[in-house]
């Protein structure tokens, strides 16, 4: 397919762009940050997302959604990134939806309507260490009664404490380090033995440390196949990764545009600083990096939407490249803003914080570059 957006996709972009800029700009983010909101996002905004159809972008039409793909989800995520709009879109409407699409009808009927209505929030409980290592999952699910008993700990569960349900990856067989033997479970927030401790992150998002102390779930809580959870997990993670990459294209582009505007207005030595070649070359280089990131993210999204065999390779490359480029953008942004870039009052620092969280989410650039090397045969 052509690497340009279709007319429909351009329309969606205009809608998302106008909406985020008017309803959820950086001032909205600041408001929720400064009030110390326990969720870190507005439930009202989440409902507005639903009214515009955003929450159902990836939900199949047969399940009441819009049945669109990663490109469309990414269009919304880019605008979220550009405005630092806080929402459960990436975790709930992208990652969780991709997992639930592989669940049975009863499970889909249980969760999709709430997502479509902008009422349900779902947490992704995968990480057990400080770095993303999904194959190392050690959390145990033992067979018990009609179902399973889950024991273990999870961390970096973004919006976990605000969630109605957690998607928990646990081991029903095999040992840590093996991809076989994993199973995904939908665990209700009120399940006995489930406890959470919320921790505010550098970017003001709230992530939970989750303790599963013999949490009993029924057999129908399994998403996909018992012991065959890796397939569901991979699908969910790749959607989350390419989604985080799209959001970083938005964060990086937003930071870059803000910085370029500053270079064109700030005067020192009786000149606008954008006249200095030392800054012009760095600006042009940054632009090239962001354009590259935008391209590989679009390529990865379209390969995922096609179900192409190389999609996984491109998703890894896209997460890595978007992470590196966005990180360059926020670093150059703070530096080129000079002293005011260090102030809380100025927005550029908020972009730096958001970049740091998104880079870590679902695996950082080094993790994904390593996967690219492995998939490329070395």
């Amino acid at each position: 397919m052509a690497m340009t957006l279709t007319d429909d996709q351009n329309m969606l972009r205009d809608t998302a762009r106008d909406f985020m800029a008017s309803e959820a700009p950086v001032t909205h983010f600041r408001k929720f940050r400064d009030m110390g909101c326990k969720d870190g996002f507005s439930h009202g905004l989440w409902k507005q997302f639903a009214e515009l159809g955003f929450t159902g972008i990836l939900i199949p039409e047969a399940d009441g959604g819009m049945g669109m793909g990663q490109i469309e989800a990414g269009i919304v995520l880019e605008e979220i990134g550009r405005n630092l709009s806080p929402s459960p879109f990436l975790t709930t409407a992208v990652a969780a939806v991709e997992a639930l699409k592989l669940a049975d009808k009863a499970m889909r009927d249980r969760w999709f309507p709430g997502i479509l209505a902008g009422e349900t929030v779902i947490g992704i409980a995968i990480e057990e260490g400080v770095k993303h290592r999904p194959e190392k999952i050690a959390c145990v699910a033992e067979r018990s009664g009609n179902g399973f008993k889950l024991t273990g700990q999870k961390q970096f569960v973004v919006q976990g404490a605000s969630s109605d349900m957690l998607i928990v990856a646990a081991r029903t067989a095999g040992a840590a380090g093996e991809t076989d033997g994993l199973t995904l479970f939908a665990v209700d927030k009120d399940a006995a033995g489930l406890s959470m401790e919320a921790a505010r992150l550098v970017d003001s998002a709230v992530a939970a440390h989750v303790n599963l102390d013999g949490v009993q779930v029924d057999a129908d809580a399994v998403i996909g196949e018992v012991d065959g959870g890796w397939a569901v997990l991979s699908k969910m993670l790749d959607a989350g990764r390419v989604g985080a990459a799209a959001e970083m294209v938005g964060v990086g582009t937003g930071a870059m545009d803000m910085t370029f505007e500053y270079l064109k207005t700030r005067k020192q030595f009786d000149r606008v600083i954008g006249e200095f070649q030392a800054l012009q070359h760095r600006a042009a280089h940054l632009y090239g990096e962001m354009e590259g990131a935008r391209s590989i993210v679009l390529k990865a999204q379209s390969l995922m939407d096609e179900g192409h065999a190389k999609a996984e390779l491109y998703v890894a490359a896209a997460k890595a490249k978007a992470g590196l480029a966005c990180n360059l953008s926020v670093r150059e942004g703070v530096q080129m803003h000079g002293g005011i870039g260090m102030t809380d009052e100025y927005d550029i620092g908020l972009y730096m914080k958001r970049d740091r969280s998104l880079n870590e989410f679902f695996g950082d650039a080094y993790y994904h570059a390593d996967r690219v090397a492995t998939m490329n045969g070395y």
Binding site: Q277, A284, G288, G292, R294, K321, G377
Partner: protein, 386 residues
């Protein structure tokens, strides 16, 4: 079947029937490349036959109009033909600066007579061209060039010197920027075509750090050039040159990495397994290489639909050439001491080392990386200042 699918099937059949088996194994080096021209010596009967058949079919320049020696293919058909050639491993029947550079300029600025005459010669591989742009005192600041053509009524008398003229010693004709009005910097340059055998033209190859001499110094001593050998208007040659430079940047921008998405890491697996930091560098390079391929694809799709910024090829040239240099640094590191060998048979005459050194020119020729960044900054990002 759609028209394009029909075309694909026909192209494949034609290639299978007409491309000799010897022309389907990869060219080993420059000596296997057909450059055409008056003095070209075919390396094999197959090379000659393959050229002749492509000439007859218009496939040396498939996207040129039939009247000028092409096959009149649409961009989509041309892409399909190239894909089918790649699948069968067909060599390019004819490489030429005439095809890549002069032809597109003639198509845009030439008279009908010039198009039929010169483009026809290029398509048939009869004339090998070289490009006379840079001068010893005019590199990045090309427009300061001094080579002067004195007006003598129906002709000019050209005096001066060019440098970095690719294969000038092997070329039949030159397309050359000549100052025809000393009073006007930008609007005082004309784009002239003339025979390298004209009295007063001489060349001297320049030995490069790679040990090879693909470039020459070219001298003009009272060279007579008739006035009908100007392309475009007299004194407006800078417009032609700028157009051609844009074209050249597009072409060079395609050189990043290895021309494809295939990683060079797999073949070096054993070495990389023992060198974790080098493996990490290779991995990050692969991320950049995949990125550049996707970037190029997106750029071409936007270019075709008129959505790309007119100065965007400058960005692609910068990114692509820097990437290719990085790639060759990695090839040398992975190759270790063996890659240092300069003449041995086991290294095919030091090909890695020579290629590595050659790529250092990528970010100098056709506009330096620094000039590309200037252009991107001013024209695309609209940064202030002169």
């Amino acid at each position: 079947m759609s028209d394009l699918e029909t075309f694909r099937a026909e192209a494949r059949t034609w290639l299978e029937e007409n491309c000799p088996a010897e022309m389907r194994i990869p060219a080993k080096g420059d000596e296997d490349v057909c450059w055409g021209g008056r003095n070209f010596v075919f390396q094999s009967e197959a090379q000659k036959v393959w050229l002749e058949r492509c000439v007859a079919k218009g496939y040396t320049v498939p996207d040129w109009p039939k009247a000028y020696g092409g096959a009149g293919l649409s961009p989509q058909e041309t892409k399909i033909l190239r894909q089918e050639m790649a699948k069968l491993g067909c060599r390019s029947p004819l490489n030429s600066f005439g095809i890549w550079m002069l032809g597109p300029a003639l198509l845009k600025f030439g008279t009908e007579e010039q198009k039929v005459h010169y483009m026809g010669q290029i398509a048939r591989g009869e004339i090998r061209w070289c490009q006379g742009y840079s001068e010893p005192g005019s590199g990045s600041d090309l427009v300061s060039m001094q080579t002067f053509g004195e007006d003598k009524g129906d002709h000019w008398v050209v005096n001066g010197q060019k440098i970095w003229t690719s294969y000038a010693d092997k070329a039949d004709w030159i397309f050359c920027l000549v100052r025809t009005d000393k009073a006007n910097k930008y609007h005082g340059i004309s784009f002239l075509l003339f025979d390298m055998e004209t009295p007063g033209v001489s060349t001297k190859p320049i030995k490069l750090i790679s040990g090879n001499s693909p470039f020459c110094e070219t001298f003009f001593d009272n060279v007579v050039v008739p006035k009908d050998q100007v392309v475009g208007e007299i004194n407006r040659g800078w417009d032609v040159a700028k157009y051609l430079l844009g074209h050249e940047r597009e072409m060079i921008s395609g050189m990043g990495g290895d021309g494809g998405v295939t990683s060079i890491g797999a073949a070096m697996k054993a070495t990389l397994a023992e060198e974790p930091v080098l493996r990490a560098q290779m991995a990050l390079f692969d991320v950049d290489n995949l990125t550049f391929r996707a970037h190029g694809e997106r750029f071409m799709d936007e270019w075709k639909t008129g959505k790309a910024h007119p100065a965007y090829s400058n960005l692609m040239k910068y990114v692509g050439t820097e990437l290719n240099k990085k790639r060759n640094e990695l090839v040398m590191s992975i190759g270790g001491s063996q890659a240092l060998e300069w003449e041995s048979e086991r290294t095919n005459g030091g090909s890695k080392a020579r290629n590595w050194l050659r790529t250092k020119a990528n970010s100098i020729e056709g506009g330096t990386s620094e000039v590309m960044l200037n252009v991107v900054s001013k024209r695309i990002l609209e940064m202030p200042g002169g």
